[in-house]
Each structure stands twice: as C-alpha cells, then as structure tokens.
Amino acid sequence: MPDKPRLTREEIAARAAKELPDGAYVNLGWGIPNLIAEYLPSGLTVFFHSENGILGMGRRARAGEEDYDLVDAMKVPVTLAPGGSFFHQADAHLMTRGGHLDVAVLGGFQVSQKGDLANWKVPGARGSGGIGGAMDIAAGAKQLIVCMEHTTKDGAPKIVKQCSYPLTALACVDTIVTDLAVIDVTAEGLLLREMAPGWTKKEIQELTGAPLL
C-alpha cells in the first residue's frame, strides 16, 4: 500500500460537508458523519435532523449548558437552533423513510459497486448487535452519502463488488467520501470524481475492490 498521507477523519468530514446543498435538511449518522456539523463551509445553512425527534438541532452543549432532555442520537447533549422543533420518534422516521430529508450521511463498513450498504454489524462480533435508525435512513433519504476510510485497518478494500457483511439496505448509496477519494455510484458503475492530493487513479484502484470509471 503506498505510504502517502491520507485525509484525516476531520478532513473526510470537511470534504463531505461540501456536498451539502444550501438549505438542506440533513441527518448525520455515527462516526465520521457526526463531525460534519463542525466543518460546514461558511455561508452554508443546513438544518440538522435527529431521529429522536429534533429538527434544527444546534451545536453541542458547552460545559454547564447541558440539558439531558435535549440530546442527539448519540446521547450527547446538544442545543436547539432558532426555528427548531420537537416531534415524536414516528414522525422523525416518517421524515427519514418518506423521502423528506434532502441528504443523509452515514458511516460504513462496506459499500458495493451497486451502492449496497453494510454498516450495522460486523460478522462474528460478540453480542446482539443493533440496527438503530440506519435501515430507515438508508432506505428513505433522497441522497445518501457514506463517509468511511477507504480500506480496513488490515488494508482490505471497503468498496467491494458485493458486500460480505450483513446489509443495511440495497442500492441506497449515491456518493462515497473516503480518505482517498470521492466516488459516485452511477448506473454504469463507480465513478472516481476526486482523488486525495498526491494519489493516482491506479493507486486508488488497487485499494478498491470494484472497477472505477
């Protein structure tokens, strides 16, 4: 594997933030996506949705400001932006499933060349596992971006021909933002739209388990 610098988790989040359209209603999943709120380009206004029933979620609460009746989906105390609202969880997921959110950004273990996503369970992991809101969000968002490292810690591709991990949803991913590339899932296949500085298409292809256009 080429020993070149890759994007950090924060840089992946900052890159993904540039994909958000102004005025969008957006849900951010666990992991790298959760960092995106800190890296919005200046002048961009987006409204964050949380599946526990918040629209217009603001920044994280500062020390002394925490109210534990106002937490995000990761249990972290947050604030409410002006114009924010609360509703029950069924309406929160009506928004995810019903195509009302403009963009959802999720983490991923694997994405297939057809845009299948696996992000809820590692095969052979101990315990029960847990789905949470990922399946509803993946199945319903108008646009789904996945943020993840391009390869596993062992260097195996996470972008693959077919997912071997338990699936979250079929053919749901539109764009993959990794520490090496921005890739669009198209009808023709995976389109390499952007490469990390210093990396070549050939090098990225070698670390990708499916052909890049």
């Binding site: 949380s50 599946e51 526990n52 029933g53 918040i54 109210d67 534990y68 009746d69 106002l70 937490v71 995000d72 989906a73 990761m74 249990k75 409410l80 609360f86 509703f87 029950h88 969880q89 069924a90 929160a92 997921h93 009506l94 995810t96 499933r97 299948d116 101990r126 315990g127 029960s128 596992g129 847990g130 789905i131 949470g132 809101g133 990922a134 399946m135 509803d136 199945a139 319903g140 338990p166 699936l167 979250t168 949803a169 079929l170």
Partner: protein, 225 residues
C-alpha cells in the same frame, strides 16, 4: 368517574401480571419511566415481553429488570453499548431478541394504535430483517410486510399531566412516549407535575387524555452515559 391519578408508583403497577407485554418509552437517556421501572422491579413481575428502543444503561432504565431476570423476550432496535445485563442474559439464552429497524418499530406500534393490520415497506429488504416475511413488488419497488406490535401496558414518562391525563413532554424527552401511549391497552405515565384542569393550553396537548389510564407523580430519574 374513574380517578386516573394513583397515590403511589407501586399502586400504579400493582396489577401487572407475569407474562405481560410492556412498552417502555425513552431514548438516549431522556424520557425513560425509571420510577415505574423501579416499581415493577419491586413488584417482581416475571416473563415480561419488553418493547423498547434499547435494553438499559448498566443498572439504569431496563438494565435493572434484565439484572433481576424479569424479562424473557425483548423487541428493540438498538440494545446499546451499556446494556451489559441484557447482553449477559442474551448470551446465556435466557432472553430472546427481535431486532427491528427503529422507524419500523415506531410504525408497527402506530399500526397497532391505529387499527392497521399490516403495512409494506422497503426498509429491511434484502437484509436479515426480511427473513420469514412476505415480500412483494409494489410500484416497481421490493417491499416486505410488517405487522403491528401490541402491548398490554405502556410505561411512559411525560413532563406534565392534567387530572384527565392530557400530557405534555419536555424537549427531546418526547421520543417514543406518545406512540406507546397510543398503542398499549393500558398506559401508565409518570410525570414531573400534575396540574389542574385547564392549565395546559389545548393546542399544546401532545398526548390527548383518551390514551392515558393511570397517572402518578414522581421526580424523574436520569442515568448517565
């Protein structure tokens, strides 16, 4: 007219029998009926089927009832990173689990509330969740049939109740509580405050009194982490 306000937490749960199906509100540490859960632990009801987003935070929330071995089956979407008592019982096969996508968990309860006998959804198609479910194609989309989730009781947490049982909730502590209130045969609510009739603005009522059967006042308990 039957009085809905109960004098104590123990009185509010006194008739909950072994084998009951119970919904428990709460998400992310907010809106859990922890006082009612503790009352049910004191009563010692066993063989419960629990319906809840998660499975407890150590001793807190449903953790106490898994620790006590009161729950036999659970329907949940995300057991959670601190549900150690649940995981121990699950590993020992003393508890069975049905994992459900979170929004589908909501919608299956809402179907029960609304008298809807099933619905088709694209959520879960091609995943473990689809196993054993009827699949068909509607408008060129693969979808699976989901069934309602009913319960004998809902244990919920609200901020205020009036004497009839009209409820308001605080911030994001609303979460699953209003849905469960509508879905169960008997809804028991713990509230921070019981206020006189007429002091909740009618437009601000979130759960109308028809869905609430027992009210008990208790200062809310929250478990960290």
């Amino acid at each position: 007219m039957k009085q809905k306000i109960f004098p104590s937490l123990d009185a509010a749960v006194a008739d909950v029998p072994d084998g009951a199906r119970i919904m428990f509100g709460g998400f992310g540490g907010a809106g859990f009926p922890n006082n009612l859960i503790q009352a049910l632990a004191r009563k010692g009801t066993k063989n419960i089927t629990a319906i809840s987003n998660n499975c407890g935070t150590r001793d807190g929330e449903l953790g106490l009832m898994f620790k006590n071995g009161q729950i036999r089956h659970v329907i949940a979407s995300f057991p959670g990173p601190h549900a150690n008592y649940f995981q121990e019982r699950f590993a020992a096969k003393e508890v069975t689990l049905e994992l459900v996508p979170q929004g589908i968990l909501c919608e299956r309860m809402r179907a029960a509330a609304a008298g809807i006998l099933g619905f088709y959804t694209t959520v879960g198609v091609g995943t473990e969740v689809a196993a054993g479910k009827e699949e068909r194609v509607i408008d060129s989309q693969r979808c699976i049939l989901e069934s309602p989730i009913h319960a004998d009781y809902a244990f919920i947490k609200a901020e205020k109740a009036d004497e009839l049982g009209n409820l308001t909730y605080r911030l994001a502590a609303r979460n699953f509580n209003p849905i469960m209130a509508m879905a169960a045969k008997t809804t028991i609510v713990e509230v921070e405050e019981i206020v006189p009739l007429g002091t909740i603005e009618p437009e601000h009522v979130v759960t109308p009194a028809i869905f609430v059967h027992r009210i008990v006042q208790a200062k809310g308990i929250r478990y960290a982490g």
